[in-house]
Symmetry: C2
Subunit: 293 residues, 2 copies
Amino acid sequence: MADVRVGFMGLGIMGSRMAANLARAGYELTVWTHTPGKAEQWACEHGAQVASSPADLGARSDFIVTMVVDGAQVRELLLGDEGAARGAAPGTLCIDMSTIAPADVLEIGARLAERSLAMIDAPVTGSSPRAADGSLTIMAGGEQGDFERALALFEVMGEVIVHVGPLGKGQAVKLINNALAAANAAALAEALVLAQAEQLDTAALLAVLGAGSGASTMLSLKARPMLERDFTTLFKTDHMVKDVRLCLQEAARAEVPFPAAEHALELLEAAAGAGLGEADFAAIVEPAAKRAR
Amino acid sequence: MADVRVGFMGLGIMGSRMAANLARAGYELTVWTHTPGKAEQWACEHGAQVASSPADLGARSDFIVTMVVDGAQVRELLLGDEGAARGAAPGTLCIDMSTIAPADVLEIGARLAERSLAMIDAPVTGSSPRAADGSLTIMAGGEQGDFERALALFEVMGEVIVHVGPLGKGQAVKLINNALAAANAAALAEALVLAQAEQLDTAALLAVLGAGSGASTMLSLKARPMLERDFTTLFKTDHMVKDVRLCLQEAARAEVPFPAAEHALELLEAAAGAGLGEADFAAIVEPAAKRAR
């Protein structure tokens, strides 16, 4: 990997762990972050180089990975005045692993194509522990050849890697996954609030739910935090709010109602409004519990 | 087991399979059904005896199992003029494995106790294939001694067997499980309708969902039937309607809102209203798809 140059922008909870895996795998890594000093410290710890700007990062990279908060940031990092596209050689592959609107992906991809740069959208699922141990699920949209070029990088960061269709479809799948997860979490929160109100033996309840038709990944991951009101952040409420909103925008565009996701969004927004935006989205249980009092 | 006498009332989709396992395990089985002739044929096939009435069945049984549709049926079979309690010897244990309201369990249990008969509520989860292979999940409410007496029978019919608390709590846990399953199914149905409207590669979508935060037992069991609109009955829409209604009655009694379950009930009732009450509750996808057109 020593001669494959990867530029990585966005060293947050997820990005820092994903980039660390690329460094460990031997890729020649260059990083850039918006916050001054943050990239320097990270690069020192992980043996990476620091770019002076996104354009500088673009000039030093065969692959440009972005892992940031929204479509506006991806657009600025890739296409802004000092964006990576300005420095990148033709044929460089831009891999956006953020979760953004499919429409943004298509627009950014078209503008990159005008400069002979390829793009693939490759959002991930799995919280920070799975980012850390390289076992994320990665759903990629883009051309087959681009997917194949990116696959070695994906295999360093992820465990389940699925090419789901053309550009933008990675995001479409990701948004549906997260909206479904949010809806399952909302139902779980309400069920647990009812169980606690009925003074049920929650250990027995969880044993039954886990063995049967009520089981879900949300049950496995979030039931204990919800019951104990332990909101140590693995995935922020604010980020889940953003993802479910994006999914509902897509649903509105397709003229498909998705009331289960609307209901989850209402609870998530209530949690964020109560100051739990930075907390884990297990905090969805708080507004559910409050209504029951 | 040959000297342990079990009376079994209710030979529907679930009950016939559960009773067959008891017969195979060597219990001395007596059956009764409301439909004339049905018990005779089943008894002939499975080497059981047929009672002339619930009271006659009660007189021949150390354990009386009921697996019927609702609380009114359980009350009639156990406490009616020709009910099993009339014939049963003091100390006989009544095991109701139906799904009925916790309040009905408490009332029936109190009336049985007046006649020195014990009761345990032991509803199950798992559809007919798991009833057939004896791998149901059984959640039992009742006194510890009664649970221990019933355990050998439960082990013949179930795989995960949990004593969840005093009488009525088996039903409380069951109703929460089924309402949660219904809510997860509703969210899944809406997500799949959106995915089909967006012409996503559903095989890729299911691979991603199954690996991540959107996974659930409902996804594993119902996604394919929903996508293919194959409603071969494993668990009837009408029965799921009944269970979610009972859960919402309990929630109302506890003054706990459960909007995710209310939304699922609305879709299930729409499916039943469209003639899919006898179909599998994967039919919840039909009203979701109809709204999207």
